[in-house]
Amino acid sequence: MTFATIVETTDDDHVLDLCAKHLARLNSDLRHSYNGHLAGDPRGRFSEGWRFPAIESDRQPEFNQVTFVWRREMDEPRPDAVGLIGTFRALYDRIPLREIPDSLYWHVTLRIPKRTCHRYLFQVGGAYHQDRINPQTETDGDGRVWSRFFTEETTTPLVLQIHERRLLGRFVQHILPFRTDAAEEFLRSPGNPLPKDVYELDQAVGVVNFIDKVLAREERHNRIDYAICLREIEKILRQREPYSEPEKVSKDAFTRLYGEMWGQVPGWNASAYENPSHFLRMVRRHVFLGAFSHPKYGGNAMALGWRFLEERFRDQAGNSVFDWRKAIEKPLGTNNEYVG
């Protein structure tokens, strides 16, 4: 395991530029507790608390810079010191945070490998605290609740259970254009440097992983929709094909259910979730984002979604009309100026 190292260069003004828009306020309303998902939790006060700790680029492309922020309350005594422990270092290794003078903020920036997920706690006044800003938590085997974060390109499942991921994987196939003749042609095209185990593009592109990550962080409030609706979908598929596992039922069963979800779904428990089309619309948005947004978000793995568009759409001279590489940073793209 690669231990995190402290980055000394982060300046106080940059930390304030990361913080103030989201954290500075007088109002104590839970304005960011959508549907009450952070009811009673002071983390519901902050705008986009999911941005913390802040994950940024590093000169070493295999790493992220992760900035941890501790914000004391305005009427709270100033602590003598604030420390940080986490699974990115030995747990006894307390990392001190630096106070920004005349502010409420303490911070430290660490260099942490990409594709990793960690637990952490702050140590303030001798006691250990979860992050007051970041709503992500994780419970360890002893029942202790930690704060959690993950770096770019992480593939570790965080939110969706394995049966949910499998079911969602099948569902996704009905939205994406990756079970088409065009996608097959893309996969077979000579010189296409895809992994040898890729036989279905929609799996390789990592959309389910993207959804898992967006539900873990940015759209945590939508996790409940997935839990309820995937349960309903599973129930209905079991009723319709009782001798198959839900994720293995026939394509016709999925196609039928997908079509029904635009309107009425026989057997759907409306008291649990009134409108299946609302869920369908959300999944459609998440699927498209996962397939075609920047690979650092966990989908569009190896830029497969972009590469599919690059090959698929061409001008009259045969040149691609989606030369994404020209705009994007190396090594993903080819731009010599933009570093990502």
């Binding site: 260069t9 003004d13 940059h14 304030l16 530029d17 913080c19 103030a20 828009k21 989201h22 500075a24 306020r25 007088l26 109002n27 304005r31 507790s33 959508y34 549907n35 705008s47 940024e56 680029s57 305005m74 005349d102 502010s103 409420l104 009905h174 939205i175 254009p177 088409t180 065009a182 759209e219 409030h221 079509g259 619309r281 959300m282 459609r284 948005r285 498209f288 984002l289 075609f292 947004s293 920047h294 979604g305 972009w306 568009l309 759409f313 061409r314 001008d315 009259q316 040149n319 009309v321 989606f322 030369d323 994404w324 020209k326 705009a327 994007i328 731009n335 100026e337 933009y338 570093v339």
Partner: protein
């Protein structure tokens, strides 16, 4: 004792930065200038030499992030989703409300907000940098057709005011702005070489534009077919080394990450890279730029602003004094700040501003633009890589000409230009599909069963890299009923939020219908095989769609202007011709709220030019 500055400027965008830069360069005096900016200072790659990383990214998800929801009870769109960029305010922290004149069922909206970041709206804007035509400064006294359509009460005769300055007054400042900001474009017709812009242009201050995008030729052909003179659209993106700002020769400037994106490389001429950063380098110590500071209210003593109160990055209350105070927070927020200040200081500023009286002009005549156009999916199979685009290539002032206005019974004209980068990136394509406004993103894609599996390929076959649009930006009829007021909904600082009360004047509908038809005519003439709506063609390929913010029911549109207009009559204006608040000796307002009419073109360059003009005035009084 509060810190004292020669000048305190609230806002670092188009209204504030030119004044800071000019006064920092004042010969013979080292003025102390404070710029207070609500948003953060996000770095370009050059600003962060240690890592070389910018805080702006070529990242569609960062630009129009995850779903958030309106969490305000009692508004018309409670619990509805919204999507905003990383430098726009969170509406649950700082909502704007919008309603029609009946003030019923207000809705929270992202419309009407500009970016909150050092550089303000110039960080996200599309960079179209047009001068207003000369006629647009004198629309009250200008010759216009009698009996305008859809204008039963002759409102333009009642509510329109000439600007207290004319084009000639602003001319040197347009030239200064174009020179110092860094703009590429042309004055002359792209084919004949004759002057094409409908205003005097004694000096060409533009950089040379890069080669137009191939499909723009179709728009050019269409514009020419209606008899228009056509010039290269002025865009605030440098194409050559820019000595005034110290920016070197840019590399590859054509990228789809321009309009609505902050530029990591600093080629897009926002006010940070073009004005503030060079001034701070050339005159170190003169400008104190404080980001993440929210001004809460102004306090008056006698006829002067005596204190500027703000919250710092932690939220601690602070105050400063300035011999001169300039408010430039963008139109809605500036008017709101004046109103909040009057309430906070009722016996001081409150007596001078009279914001709660029926007769006060403060907040009245709020303006946007009549905006719309036409768009088509090019039917002959031609595609263009819109990720390699600088958006607008060709523009014409043809619809600002008096003979056109007379022919079409319009009170004022418009600029028309083409766009090639619409939906240039895949997420943007899906997000904006069928969207009426910024609040309805994802509606078209999410709600269309046909866009599934093969259907997604069919849709992309029709739309990806094939769509070409022509847009107009026209004057809106100033209407006293269109106003900014305070609401009881509180922001995160427990301050009353702005409530925009706005409808379209009926004549605006005629303006937009007429100009949208012109845009349709341009595409119809320029692109072989296209046809008007009503044809049953798969995915509507080749069928021209046209519309406007009026026809589509969009609430505000992006350009926010008026609300504190300047003039020579203190009874009907808030600011005097110098943009000084009437009866307050040291308070100036310089964002778009000073405009009595909205102009037939995008407003940023005019806001910048006027700020350079006010800077010259301030040099005389400070």
């Amino acid at each position: 004792m509060a810190e004292t500055y020669d000048i305190v400027i609230i806002g670092s965008g188009a209204g504030g930065a030119p004044i800071a830069a000019e006064l920092a360069a004042l010969q013979g005096r080292a003025l102390r200038i404070l710029v207070l900016e609500k948003g953060p200072k996000l770095r370009t790659q050059e600003d962060n030499p240690a890592g070389g990383f910018s805080d702006f990214k070529r990242d569609e998800l960062l630009n129009a992030g995850p779903e958030k929801r309106i969490n305000w009870g009692g508004v018309g769109n409670t619990n509805r989703p919204f999507y905003s960029s990383h430098i726009e305010p969170d509406l649950n922290d700082e909502p704007h409300l919008w309603s029609g004149h009946d003030e019923q069922d207000p809705r929270v909206t992202v419309e009407g907000y500009t970016a909150q970041v050092v550089g303000g709206g110039t960080q996200l804007y599309g960079a179209v940098s047009l001068r207003f035509p000369e006629r647009d400064f004198k629309l009250a006294s200008a010759d216009r057709p009698a009996g305008l359509p859809n204008d039963p009460y002759a409102d333009p005769d009642v509510d329109i005011r000439d600007w207290p300055i004319g084009y000639d007054d602003l001319l040197p400042y347009y030239e200064k702005a174009e020179t110092l900001v860094g703009i590429n474009g042309t004055v002359t017709d792209v084919q004949t070489g004759a002057q094409a812009q409908e205003k005097k242009f004694p000096k060409n201050c533009y950089q040379t534009p890069v080669a137009p995008n191939p499909i723009s030729d179709l728009a050019l052909s269409g514009m020419k077919s209606i008899g228009a003179q056509v010039y290269r659209t002025p865009l605030a993106v440098i194409t050559e080394a820019h000595a005034p700002s110290g920016r070197p020769t840019p590399g590859w400037v054509k990228t789809g990450y321009v309009n609505r994106y902050g530029d990591p490389l600093g080629y897009k001429s926002n006010t940070w890279v073009s004005l503030l950063r060079p001034a701070m380098r050339t005159h170190p110590g003169r400008i104190d730029l404080r980001a993440n500071c929210t001004v809460t209210h102004l306090e008056a003593s006698g006829k002067r602003i005596s204190k500027v109160h703000y919250r710092d990055a932690s939220g601690f209350p602070k105050s400063v004094e300035g011999k001169i105070v300039v408010v430039a927070c963008s139109a809605i927020e500036s008017v709101r700040l004046l109103m909040l200040s009057a309430e906070e200081d009722p016996t001081g500023l409150g007596k001078l501003l009279r914001h709660d009286e029926d007769g006060t002009p403060l907040g009245r005549y709020f303006l946007t633009h009549c905006f719309g156009g036409a768009e088509v999916s090019i039917p002959d199979g031609r595609r263009f890589d819109k990720t390699q685009s600088l958006d607008s290539d060709y523009a014409t002032d043809w619809t600002s000409r008096l003979d056109f206005l007379r022919d079409k019974n319009l009170w004022a004209g418009a600029a028309i230009y083409n766009n090639t980068s619409d939906q240039s990136l895949p997420v943007t394509l899906a997000r904006t599909d069928g969207a009426n406004d910024l609040d309805t993103w994802w509606q078209g894609f999410d709600n269309d069963p046909a866009k599934t599996g093969e259907g997604i390929l069919d849709w992309m076959n029709a739309d990806f890299g094939t769509r070409l649009s022509v847009s107009f930006m026209a004057n809106q009829v100033p209407w006293r009923k269109n106003r900014i007021r305070l609401s009881d909904v509180r922001d995160k600082w427990n301050r009353k939020s702005a409530w925009v009360v706005k409808d379209w004047h009926p004549h605006d509908g005629h303006v937009m219908d007429t100009l949208a038809r012109v845009c349709e005519d341009i595409l119809l003439a320029g692109i072989p095989g296209t046809m008007r709506e009503g044809q049953n063609i798969p995915w509507n390929r080749g069928v021209i769609g046209e519309g406007s913010v009026y026809g589509q029911g969009v609430r505000i549109a992006n350009h926010i202007l008026g609300g504190a207009r300047f003039g020579t009559d203190r009874a009907t204006s808030v600011l005097d011709p110098d943009c000084r608040v009437w009866d307050i000796d040291n308070l100036y307002v310089t964002d778009g709220c000073f405009m009595p009419t909205s102009g037939g073109g995008n407003p940023t360059l005019t806001i910048q030019a006027n700020s350079f003009r006010v800077a010259d005035i301030l040099k005389q009084v400070i």
